[in-house]
């Protein structure tokens, strides 16, 4: 373990970039700097063998920053996504109030990166709050009535969530007699009020993570933000809530089957209910927002299982990290693709549609994609016979239904995108950002440490049986979509 100033630079660089906003002529420079801001974070994440650690005793109530395996995966996901979305933003922003966007972008990024590297809870909570409040500026950026309404709902729910967190963290820290996040799980497990603390933390972070019934802001806010902001909201920031669960709740300390049941039920509602609502949407970004709720529901299944049976927590953690990495990168691409304009020549369009569809198919678990890796690891980790909580036996059913629902939602997305897509010219940075995100999701994923650590299975060598088990939900959903499409008449238009 070495003291690592790189951790400091990770958050100082985006924060320091705010000075560019003071210069009246710095606007263009600032815009072009956006992709550079997450670079120290990417570097930190890739240099994980150094075991970054930094103690800042004068900070808040005693600051400790560091990086473990879990945080490393989240840091890489977050920084890579912000970098590619940042490239995209350079092109996207041309004429749209770039200064305000850059300021809130940098602040939100600082919060998002900072909370990942925080090991003490005051730093964590500070960065979490910074991200929450700064993201408001991104949500309402367009200043339409719709954006303002989404912003209000977002803020009201976020502030309420923050209060649940404050109470939960206070109670946990009091029990632990420590302000280190690492001490909280053990203390919560021993507390005689563990139920209340867990409920507060689950719901406080659940607002960010899009937990059912705490999700109302999400399908309003994610779509109205400017496209690159939607990508990081739905790909990276939603994962901050997940990370909050993982680092505070008493995983591996105690088995809580009741919480396992609750979370699995909530996860199922999120996975299937989110998809059902998403199928009724007409705008591609809203469909994607519901898809995020649905995917977070699937992840919540694993969180619930890890709560229920402590002995599986460690295994599930690496699968959750893998799934988060896969979903974050894929969802980022899908959001960016909503602002890509189609080329005028028809003969190139099919390549574009293929590239747009691939991350979606990856979400559905298409063999040889990151999604296949994630789905496979999840299926493996959630074998019901390993668990002894009541609803465990339904896990395979929920996952299968979830896979079909995911694919249906992707078809819905492609169909709505097709309805609303425009032809036109794309700024070169838009191309670059979108292509970079797609490459990260489809190719670079395999080389990131979070994915490598799961390399016990060899994803490139699948047996026919495995290919079939991954493919049939896709085939089934595609058939369903085709039937629906034929049934409503090929010339039908408008809403579905």
């Amino acid at each position: 373990m070495i003291t690592s100033p790189l951790l400091l630079i990770t958050v100082i660089l985006p924060l320091a970039s705010l000075f560019l906003a003071f210069r009246p002529k710095g606007q263009t420079i600032y815009r072009y700097c956006l992709p550079l801001l997450p670079l120290p974070a990417i570097l930190t994440g890739l240099m994980a063998e150094f075991h970054h650690w930094l103690e800042l005793p004068w900070l808040l109530i005693g600051g400790v920053w560091g990086l473990d395996e879990l945080r490393q995966t989240f840091l890489l996901l977050t920084s890579v996504l912000w970098a590619t979305a940042g490239i995209f933003a350079v092109g996207y922003l041309e004429t749209r109030k770039p200064r305000a966007f850059c300021v809130f972008w940098a602040l939100t990024l600082t919060g998002n990166l900072g909370l990942i590297i925080s090991v003490d809870l005051a730093s964590f909570y500070s960065f979490f709050a910074l991200m929450t409040f700064a993201a408001y500026g991104l949500v309402v950026h367009e200043r339409t009535d719709e954006a303002n309404r989404a912003g209000r709902v977002y803020l009201a729910m976020a502030v309420t969530g923050e209060m649940a967190l404050l109470t939960g963290l206070l109670m946990a820290a009091h029990q632990a007699d420590s302000t280190l996040l690492t001490e909280l799980p053990g203390a919560i497990a021993e507390s005689d009020r563990s139920g209340m603390i867990i409920a507060l933390l689950v719901s406080g972070f659940g607002v960010k993570a899009g937990l059912p019934f705490l999700h109302f802001w999400l399908p309003l806010a994610h779509p109205v933000a400017p496209t690159p902001a939607s990508a990081v909201l739905s790909g990276a920031m939603i994962k901050a809530g997940l990370l909050g669960w993982l680092v505070t709740l008493p995983f591996g300390e105690i088995s809580l089957p009741a919480w396992g049941n609750t979370l699995v039920v909530l996860g199922a509602i999120g996975a299937l209910g989110g998809a059902a609502l998403g199928l009724n949407q007409v705008r591609p970004k809203t469909v994607l927002a519901y898809s995020s709720i649905s995917q977070m529901g699937l992840i919540t299944l694993m969180v619930g299982a890890a709560m229920a049976n402590m002995e599986h927590a460690a295994t599930l953690f690496s699968v959750i990290a893998l799934y988060a990495l896969h979903h974050g990168l894929a969802k980022g691409c899908l959001f960016l693709s909503t602002a890509v304009q189609l080329p005028a020549q028809r003969r190139f369009r099919w390549i574009l549609w293929l590239l747009i569809a691939l991350p979606g198919l990856s979400l559905a678990g298409l063999p040889f994609t990151s999604g296949a890796a994630a789905k496979f690891a999840m299926k493996d980790a959630l074998k019901p016979e390993q668990y002894d909580f009541a609803v465990a036996e339904y896990l395979p059913l929920i996952m299968t239904a979830g896979a079909v629902a995911t694919m249906l939602l992707i078809w819905r997305f492609i169909w709505t995108l097709h309805q609303s897509a425009q032809t036109g010219h794309n700024h070169p940075f838009k191309w670059l950002g979108w292509v970079a995100a797609t490459v990260c999701s489809l190719v670079a994923f395999w080389f990131l440490p979070g994915a490598r650590s799961e390399a016990g299975h060899s994803w490139f060598v699948l047996t026919p049986g495995e290919v079939w088990s991954l493919s049939w939900p896709i085939v089934a959903a595609t058939a369903l979509a085709a039937v629906w499409w034929l049934a409503r008449g090929r010339n039908g238009s408008g809403t579905g």
Partner: protein, 498 residues
């Protein structure tokens, strides 16, 4: 007499002398008056800094002499005194700078700055007072020197507010004096002493001590704006902005809160007050005040009135902190004495800037003000987030420390109060911020003036920027030994014998 004994006297004399000089200066000697003001403020800050350093090293400065038989005049610089004196001296300098800019070209500046200096001398006396009697002297001097400031504009509304103010505070003062006399009657002259004087209360003393406590708190509670004694504060916001800033952050409300701290810590003793059951009653009143003030702030459409009700709420955090009766909770309350001061003075400076530069008084006139006055608006935003208790700002440190103290004391309901108050704070500050930053300017500013090369006069701009810097650093560097929290922990270690 050693120089050590004289330091508190000098600190007091700087602003008294400044007051005398300023009263005698002709109205048009603008630059000389400004120079006297600034020199005195800087000098005092240095003297207080010197004392803070000495107290940190373990020295104590003090002086006492008999006034009338049995009653002493005592000045003493201990760690607790330095908390208030330090706050007062630093914010006075900034407020003086601000007031010079604010009152440019307005009439009666000699009168204003004279009373302004007297007012600050009073707060210094209140900080350094070594017994209740000395405390009372300066407490009343504060009342008399702030009245001319409240009515400074001379309008009908100002005079009305002044009348309300003087009735409330003089009555409060009379009640306080009555309490002090009763206490004197059965225990003589009591110097402030860590741990208090009533460690062993005989049963026959319990009833009178309880009665005296109620009377003392009622007397002090007027200035501390505890509900239902808070009525003067929202009306007094008609005063000029620098006066409001000082009233709400340092002088008046803090004098009341500081008095309560002295009575609880150093007359009764925290343990005794707790054992007599006095603190649980006080806690309930403070909690009610916190919620009530925030709830009332919600419905105000005038910016300064909203801030005034916010003060009602926030000052009671200090009192609620004391009632937690443990080292952590007490630290949370005491540190808010400084944190609230720095945050609230920033808010009032900014409100003054909006009013003087753009003519904005109502919250619905603020639409788009962030684009016109970005620096002021950044300061306002930081202070508002601090008030909500958002980390990493000063208000968060208060809230976290108090919350931890509440759990340690087994008073879990205090967490609920903190949470509800934070939600209400968010509900009345966030819409204001939304207007400032995210709404487009709808119509012409009510009364715009171009002032210097910045968004407003530099005299008005720097003070809020500096205090905003303080409130960020007070939170961010809370664990450093020179932070307000670090100093409060020193006080708690020395004063509260737990």
């Amino acid at each position: 007499m050693t120089t050590g004994a004289l330091l508190p006297v000098f600190a007091l004399m700087t602003s008294l002398t400044a007051a005398v000089i300023i009263f005698t200066l002709p109205e048009h000697k603008h630059q000389l008056r400004t120079a006297v003001n600034l020199v005195a403020a800087v000098l005092k800050l240095l003297l207080v800094g010197l004392m803070v350093w000495g107290v940190f090293q373990g020295r104590e400065y003090g002086i006492s002499f008999p006034m009338i038989p049995g009653v002493e005049f005592v000045l003493r610089a201990d760690a607790l005194a330095m908390l208030f004196a330090g706050l007062s001296a630093s914010l006075w300098l900034l407020t003086t700078v601000y007031a010079v800019g604010y009152l440019e070209d307005s009439p009666n500046r000699s009168r204003f700055f004279g009373f302004f200096s007297l007012c600050v001398a009073s707060t210094m006396g209140i900080a350094l007072a070594g017994n209740l009697f000395t405390f009372f002297l300066f407490y009343e001097m504060l009342t008399l020197s702030t009245y001319p400031l409240v009515v400074h504009r001379g309008t009908q509304q100002a005079l009305q507010a002044g009348r309300t103010y003087i009735i409330y505070t003089l009555t409060g003062g009379a009640v306080l004096l009555f309490g002090i006399a009763m206490l004197h009657n059965f225990s003589g002259d009591l110097p402030f002493r860590p741990g208090g004087h009533f460690a062993d209360v005989t049963p026959d003393l319990q009833a009178p001590l309880t009665l005296v406590f109620v009377i003392l708190i009622a007397g002090l509670g007027v200035k501390a704006a505890i509900v239902p004694l808070h009525g003067w504060l929202p009306t007094a916001m008609v005063a000029p902005a620098p006066v409001s800033a000082l009233l709400h952050a340092v002088a008046v409300v803090k004098a009341g809160a500081f008095g309560i701290v002295r009575v609880v810590f150093e007359i009764y003793g925290l343990e005794t007050a707790n054992a007599l059951g006095l603190l649980s009653g006080l806690a309930a009143i403070a909690a009610f005040t916190i919620i009530y003030g925030s709830a009332r702030a919600l419905s105000q459409s005038d910016l300064k009135r909203r801030l005034a009700f916010s003060t009602v709420s926030q000052v009671s955090y200090i009192i609620l902190g004391l009632c937690l009766a443990g080292p952590v909770g007490v630290a949370g309350g005491l540190v808010h004495l400084v944190h609230q001061g720095v945050m609230k003075i920033t808010l009032f400076f900014c409100a003054g800037n909006y009013a003087e530069t753009l003519g904005i008084h109502r919250i619905d006139e603020l639409d788009g003000a962030g684009r016109r006055m970005p620096a002021t608006s950044v300061a306002f935003t930081l202070a508002a987030f601090g008030m909500i208790g958002t980390p990493p700002l000063a208000g968060f440190i208060t809230k976290w420390t108090m919350g931890t103290g509440a759990l340690a004391a087994g008073m879990d309901w205090v967490i609920a109060v903190l949470v509800v108050s934070s939600l209400l704070n968010a509900a009345y500050f966030l819409p204001v911020l939304n207007r400032i930053w995210f709404r487009e300017q709808k119509k012409e500013w009510p009364e715009e003036r171009q002032w210097g090369r910045f968004e407003t006069s530099a005299w008005l701009l720097w003070p809020p920027l500096i205090t905003a810097g303080f409130l960020v650093l007070a939170g961010l560097l809370a664990s450093a030994s020179f932070s307000p929290l670090g100093w409060v922990e020193l006080i708690v270690a020395r004063e509260v014998d737990l």
